[in-house]
């Protein structure tokens, strides 16, 4: 849905800051809970992998030296990890949960950044009224924009203009005149049916990938039906359910933002539930225009909103340079009265997400580093405890002639192993889990459309293990350094 639409819908549910905080905390707890379950669930994999590595090392002990020799020392690492199974398991789960949270935040941050980043290729640009929010323009603005587009070099404009331009008008209304309630109200986008077939509404979830091919085919069929009669409308399944209506019903919608105008609607199709259009509805733009004409004929004067019935125009431009040329023609052009402005979609989303900027910054530079620090601490504390426990043993190894580096690496290896597996299994299972859910949702279509669009960036697959490695190294740095410095003579000195 275009961001501006929100201002027509009364801004959505009114949440107080306190409520928001409560929801955020509850959400966080839920996430931690689920991640903890996943961490515990993957423990068998973790221990099986450790066992596998240990068995591999065990087999390697029979190989010629130095492999055979050092795999015996390496075997010590695994035995030490198994010595306190509960502690090893707890650290693993802690690292799993923290890595999982990092993955979620990373996914959130990258998808927002991607949304606001200007794509080099095609540009979705938006014409709105310059000085007023919400934007309300006369229908002529669309024709003027088309004229300006035709003035551009062929390379700077879409080859097929009709397939790359769409208008948006927002109509609120209810089925009971003057008595709108949440149950009888609905919100229409008035647009041309071609906007769906040309893919201009792909971002709204109306595309074969998000809908699944069956639903997409059905939508294309419905669009053909809509073209048959101006009064044909499509309503989201979620909205239909709330209104207790079904496809085939006829309803009269008394507009709230076009007083005195009522729409005779025949519901000929439904947008899938759960999708971005599930709660909305769409009608033909020319139906709105014709009703406004009829109003003028019947009342002898123009409808007060007749010159304010075009809210947005979207155009897909071939490049950023082309957009800039068009913007140059539109901005400060007196042919547009009231004045209009042309912006890229990402700029508008950027403005929309401006409020999120602080949160985004905080996530990137405070929350994420803080989580990494906590992970280092968790590893550091655990390894320190382990080193304290084995202080004497490490001293004995040094007495026997093992070098400080060799003693130290048994400590580092332990931390790195836990970190590596924690990071790997957390990111891999989250990526895999989300991919699985999304794959299932694509097959299921309908209400699952939201899940179908979920995706964890693929780069977490190597970032997770790399982070684990890093955490293991950093977390064990201090304890292993102290392990290095175990004084051998202290072993004897402790004698009574």
């Amino acid at each position: 849905m275009p961001p501006e639409a929100a201002s027509f819908m009364g801004g959505g549910p009114d949440l107080s800051l306190l409520q928001l905080a409560v929801y955020a905390v509850l959400g966080l707890l839920l996430v931690i809970f689920i991640l903890t379950l996943m961490g515990i669930g993957t423990l068998p994999i973790f221990f099986t992998a450790l066992l596998g590595l240990q068995l591999g090392l065990g087999a390697a002990q029979n190989l010629p030296d130095p492999i055979g020799k050092w795999s015996k020392v390496g075997g010590l690492v695994f035995r030490n990890m198994r010595r306190n199974l509960l502690r090893t398991a707890l650290v693993y789960v802690a690292l799993f949960v923290l890595t999982g949270m990092l993955t979620l935040i990373y996914t959130f941050v990258t998808s927002l950044v991607k949304l606001t980043a200007d794509k080099e290729g095609q540009q979705l640009v938006i014409l709105t009224e310059k000085h007023s929010i919400p934007s309300q323009m006369p229908p002529g603005h669309e024709r003027r924009l088309r004229e300006l587009l035709r003035e551009l070099d062929p390379a700077d404009r879409p080859a097929d203009l009709d397939a790359n331009i769409m208008t948006w008008s927002f109509i609120g209304g209810s089925t009971e005149k003057g008595k709108p309630t949440p149950q009888n109200s609905l919100f229409f986008f008035a647009l041309s049916p071609e906007a769906i077939t040309s893919g201009m509404m792909a971002e709204q979830g109306l595309n074969p990938e998000d809908l699944g091919s069956t639903n997409w085919e059905e939508l294309l069929r419905v669009v053909e039906v809509v073209k048959e009669d101006k009064r044909h409308v499509v309503i989201g399944e979620d909205r239909l359910k709330i209104m207790n209506k079904r496809v085939g019903d006829t309803i009269t919608v008394y507009s709230t933002n076009y007083p005195g105008v009522s729409f005779e609607c025949i519901i000929v199709g439904a947008f899938p539930a759960g999708g971005r259009m599930g709660g909305a509805a769409a009608m033909r733009y020319d139906y709105l225009l014709s009703l406004l004409d009829e109003y003028e004929k019947a009342n002898g004067k123009k409808h007060p909103n007749a010159d304010r019935c075009l809210n947005l125009v979207w155009v897909r431009m071939p490049s950023k340079a082309a957009y800039e040329k068009l913007a140059g023609k539109v901005n400060n052009n007196t042919a547009f009265t009231p004045a209009a402005k042309l912006e890229t979609f990402s700029a508008i989303v950027g403005a929309f997400t401006e409020g999120l900027k602080d949160i985004l910054w905080g996530m990137k530079y405070i929350v994420m580093p803080a989580i990494v620090c906590i992970m280092c601490l968790v590893v550091g504390i655990t390894i320190t405890i382990g080193v304290r426990e084995r202080w004497k043993e490490m001293a004995v190894m040094k007495v026997l002639g093992f070098g400080p580096g060799q003693v130290m690496s048994t400590v580092v290896a332990e931390a790195v192993l836990i970190g590596l597996f924690g990071g790997m299994l957390a990111t891999w299972s989250m990526w895999g889990g989300v991919a699985l859910v999304s794959g299932w949702a694509k097959g299921a279509g309908g209400g699952a459309a939201f899940f179908a669009s979920l995706k964890v960036p693929v780069e977490v697959l190597w970032m997770g293990p790399a982070l684990g490695l890093f955490i293991g190294l950093v977390g064990s740095a201090l304890p292993s350094w102290s392990a290095r410095k175990v004084k051998v003579s202290e072993v004897f000195s402790q004698v009574a």
Binding site: Q61, N62, P64, D65, G68, K69, W70, K72, V73, L76, R79, N80, R82, R83, K392, E393, V396, M397, K398, V399, L400, G401, F402, G403, V488, S489, V491, F492, S493, V495, A496
Partner: protein, 236 residues
């Protein structure tokens, strides 16, 4: 020629601090090859400090220490570590076995640092454990062994590298009378049958009795004249 020769030894802890602790001074000592020497003295007299220095766990403040044909005073820490592996076998009061390793693996540990085939290592471990009478406990962890058995594993670990000297700091300190006796028998046997050179710190006169020679230490010096030679023990 003596196998251990300590000349004009001085050890001062915290030498550069305002209150240095001089633990050993003007100390001279010789140990012959194949000799079993007991170091006795009151607590705090510097026995452990002297043993640490001879075993290459610490470096003297002054003086020289020669073991075999090598002067170890003046070696760097890493040189000492390498030297220890080949030349010193350690027996500790509290055994100091790694609990996660089996008896055989504990004994094998120092061998991992020496160039040796796996088969050779296995053979040596078996030999050492058979010498201490634990040939049938190879795959037991320390937790499954008695204190006396642990100490015998400790002794096996000390001799498995065939070191120049075996050093023991209160080896019977944690053992009951019977186990202590067994351990001492074993040490005597090592000397008698295998010609090992053994230096043992103890404050137990009964344990010291089993050595060929007792060196008394008091306030960092060897008590002269009190040093006495004893006939090689014939007890087995």
């Amino acid at each position: 020629m003596a196998i251990v020769e300590v000349t004009d030894l001085e050890k001062t802890f915290n030498a550069d601090s305002p209150d240095p602790v001089r633990v050993l001074e003007d100390l001279n000592l010789e140990v012959e090859e194949g000799e079993f020497v007991a170091l006795m003295g009151p607590s705090g007299s510097g026995k452990t400090t002297l043993l640490n220095l001879i075993a290459g766990l610490d470096s003297p403040t002054r003086g020289t220490i020669r073991v075999g044909d090598q002067v170890i005073s003046g070696m760097s820490e890493s040189e000492l570590a390498k030297w220890r592996t080949r030349n010193v076998g350690f027996v500790f009061q509290f055994y100091n076995l790694l609990p996660v390793l089996t008896a055989a693996e504990n004994v094998e540990l120092p061998l991992l640092l020496l160039p040796m085939t796996g088969a050779e290592r296995k053979q040596r471990v078996r030999n050492a454990l058979e010498i201490v009478g634990l040939g049938d406990r190879m795959s037991h962890r320390p937790g499954k062994l008695s204190g006396g058995q642990c100490q015998r594993v400790g002794i096996a670990r000390a001799i498995v590298t065939d070191p120049t000297i075996v050093v023991c700091d209160e080896p019977t300190g944690a053992l009951d009378a019977k186990s202590a006796d067994n351990a001492l028998n074993l040490l005597e046997q090592l000397r008698a049958d295998l010609g090992k050179t053994i230096i043992m710190v103890t404050h137990d006169p009964h344990a010291a009795e089993r050595a060929q020679r007792i060196v008394h230490l008091e306030k960092g010096r060897i008590v002269p004249g009190d040093e006495r030679l004893r006939l090689a023990s014939t007890r087995r």
